[in-house]
């Protein structure tokens, strides 16, 4: 497969997954916040989110004060924010357009529809039916995954798409756990706002229902971390994604064992092992935040190594522009 094609598949996976998490996060938090949170609580939550995704500076420059409405416009429809929903879907669709000959026509039509539909949305429509719009984006991302899975050959392109998706997903879930209310294993949420934050973390990973099946409805920070970080069957736990990532890297490497390929396999394997054999004791003795920072750092290294191994085939320099990688 052409390196450029592989790279596009990879980024379609990442962009769509990023859009899905963004839509879900904003939807969940907006609706929880409307009930009880003070303006200050709200500002804190949004600020932490934008810090995590590295977009706080861009927001402040554009809008100044942290308020719920401009913040939501910033992450959904804002043209100046490369990671707004509109721009993420446009970026995914542009990648798809460049490899149209490699996609099933169902996938291409679906993505094009998605893009055309979202492109025309205005702030007015966002506020008229916030839940509907964000829910639509999230559901369309789910559906797209299904259209790809059921109409495309499960060959290299599919594997690169899934690799991008899993790397993005692992990183996004890790960021969701990195909140103060979860960082002390001995606490139990007492204030209603703490309770809400626990709930929001789970719901943002669409994990609340799954969590309940294992631990009943009681929200215990330790158990939430255990679930989102280490669960071996829940598809959005960090561990689950790293296991997938390892398999996918080995699969796309095929028979070739160039140094860069070997390095990519090694990085993926090391990260997966850390999560497979890691324990809560270890996490809390390191500190939750530091532990997650390490995971994110490893994901970054892996992503770069995948790019070196497969997208910039060695032996010559490449002219291909790297995509917006701000995460």
């Amino acid at each position: 497969m052409l390196s450029r094609t592989a790279e596009s598949f990879f980024w379609i996976g990442r962009f769509i997954e990023r859009a899905e998490y963004t839509a879900r996060f904003v939807n969940v938090h907006y609706h929880l916040l409307t009930e009880i949170a003070t303006r200050e609580d709200q500002a804190n939550i949004w600020t932490r989110y934008l810090e995590d995704t590295g977009e706080l500076e861009a927001y402040t420059e554009l809008y100044g004060e942290m308020l719920t409405r401009p913040m939501m416009e910033f992450v959904t429809l804002c043209r100046e924010n490369p990671n707004s929903l509109t721009n993420l879907i446009a970026a995914a669709r542009n990648n798809a357009r460049g490899i149209q000959d490699q996609l099933s026509s169902e996938v291409w039509h679906f993505m094009n529809d998605f893009y055309l539909n979202l492109k025309g949305k205005t702030e007015l429509e966002l506020w008229a039916d916030t839940h509907d719009l964000l829910g639509h984006v999230r559901n369309t991302c789910y559906t797209l995954d299904g259209v790809m899975g059921s109409t495309m050959v499960h060959d290299e392109g599919w594997n690169f798409y899934r690799l991008g998706k899993n790397i993005e997903r692992g990183g996004r879930t890790a960021r969701l756990i990195d909140i103060p209310v979860l960082s002390d294993p001995s606490t139990e949420p007492r204030r209603i706002s703490e309770y809400h934050q626990c709930l929001a973390a789970l719901k943002s990973a669409s994990a609340f229902e799954a969590y309940r099946k294992f631990y009943s409805a009681q929200l215990v920070p330790k158990k939430i971390v255990q679930f989102l970080l280490f669960h071996n069957k829940f598809p959005r736990s960090v561990r689950f994604t790293t296991t997938q990532t390892t398999k996918l890297v080995e699969r796309v490497a095929g028979g070739t064992r160039r140094p860069e390929t070997r390095q990519a396999i090694r990085l993926a394997g090391a990260l997966a092992a850390d999560l497979e054999f890691g324990s809560l004791e270890e996490v809390y003795s390191t500190g939750l935040s530091q532990f997650l920072a390490q995971v994110l750092e490893q994901l970054d290294q892996l992503s770069n190594m995948v790019a070196q191994a497969f997208f910039r085939t060695s032996g010559y320099s490449t002219t291909s522009q790297s995509q917006s990688q701000a995460v």
């Binding site: 052409l2 390196s3 542009n94 460049g98 149209q100 039509h109 490449t318 291909s320």
Partner: protein, 485 residues
Amino acid sequence: MKSLFDSYQMKSGFDEMFEPAGVPRRHYRRLVERLRNFPQKDLELKRRQADQAFLRQGITFTVYGDPQQTEKIFPFDLMPRIIPDTEWRIIEEGIRQRVRALNMFLVDLYGDQRILDDKIVPRELIESSVHFQKDLVGFCPPKGVFIHVAGVDLVRNHEGQYFVLEDNLRTPSGVSYVLENRLVMKQLFPNLFDDMRVRPVDQYPTQLLENLKGLAPVGKENPMVVLLTPGVFNSAYFEHSFLSLQMGIQMVEGRDLVVESDKVYMKTTQGLEQVDVIYRRVDDSFLDPEVFREDSLLGVPGLVRAYRAGNVALANGIGNGIADDKAVYTFVPKMIDYYLTEKPILQNVPTYMCGIPEDRTYVLEHLGSLVVKAVAESGGYGMLMGPSSTKDEQEEFRRKIEASPRSYIAQPVVSLSHHPCVVDGGEKLRLVGRHVDLRPFVLWGDDITLSLGGLTRVALKEGSLVVNSSQGGGSKDTWVLEGDE
């Protein structure tokens, strides 16, 4: 009930569908009969469905010079154009003859140059053209074929006689619309096709692929054939991806290819893979920065070396531009006589060459009634439509012609034939006459084959004679019948 055709007004000039007396021509009779009682509101619905189908599939082109990079759909007109068998045979023969002569001309120009020595075509005309690739003189492409794909533009005058307007031997586009128009038309109006014996158009990609495979260097069992596109910002990008998909070949951009030891490779996730045949949709001047434009990012450094070494085949060949140059066009009838000793089956539109003093004087005196075209431009850019031009525009062209006479030609306005088209008419859809042309697509493999029909382009603006997509043109499905009615 009022019929769609009741309000249709015949104009002066040749009407494709109706005879001057207002009765449908023989090959249109059944279509008119079937559409006569077609309900207005259904027609509106069909039109919305058609637009939706094109937009959704991304069958769009990019407008150059538009900072928004807007993607537009190429408007589709619901009323099909019909060509009876007898008429089609003449077109087919005429185009085959013409393309054969043009290819012989290219072989000759890049070989012995007999036609220049015999002074049939002036040497100065050729050597002063930017489209003539001097470096390639002495090089003959595989099997002596330069023209693998051509799109010949035909128009009809007030008597319905066909004329050739342009030959388009470089990277002609539009064939994807031929296939897509038919597909959409069959989805929208399945009943209309009943018993009409419309010849299918969909063998084109298969034929093209077979021809491309035939170009591979000898001994290649399973040649690697790719389509080279300038990328998503090219106005014909949809067509590039469409054809790649139809043929099941890899679409590549310049940056995906690399030349090592005069061989072309594509960069894959598993390393380098050799490429044998390139169906290139990138113009000569952007193809190889080592030879042509140094600033080209669309091309592949070293590609021409690999081509000359015989390690990769290109379709079309390099240097075709000299044969579809608007000034060289004038000599095609002479080429047909010179190489084939035949009489041209299809005529040229009379052309004045501003490089020739007598012609120039005539052109400058008649700017208001001629069409002036820049030799180097295509796609409807750089044109003066005399009858609809302002005095200022005429003055501007006068200055341009005087400054660089060789760069301009002029032709009398051919009062193109018109065809009924469905357009918005205030509250509801109306049927009105609009000018049309016809671009059949030609493929050269073991034999010369034509797409059955081709692309009918429509000048959707009232009175306009310009059918290019970039200038507000649209297209319609084109039917070649098995018989004559």
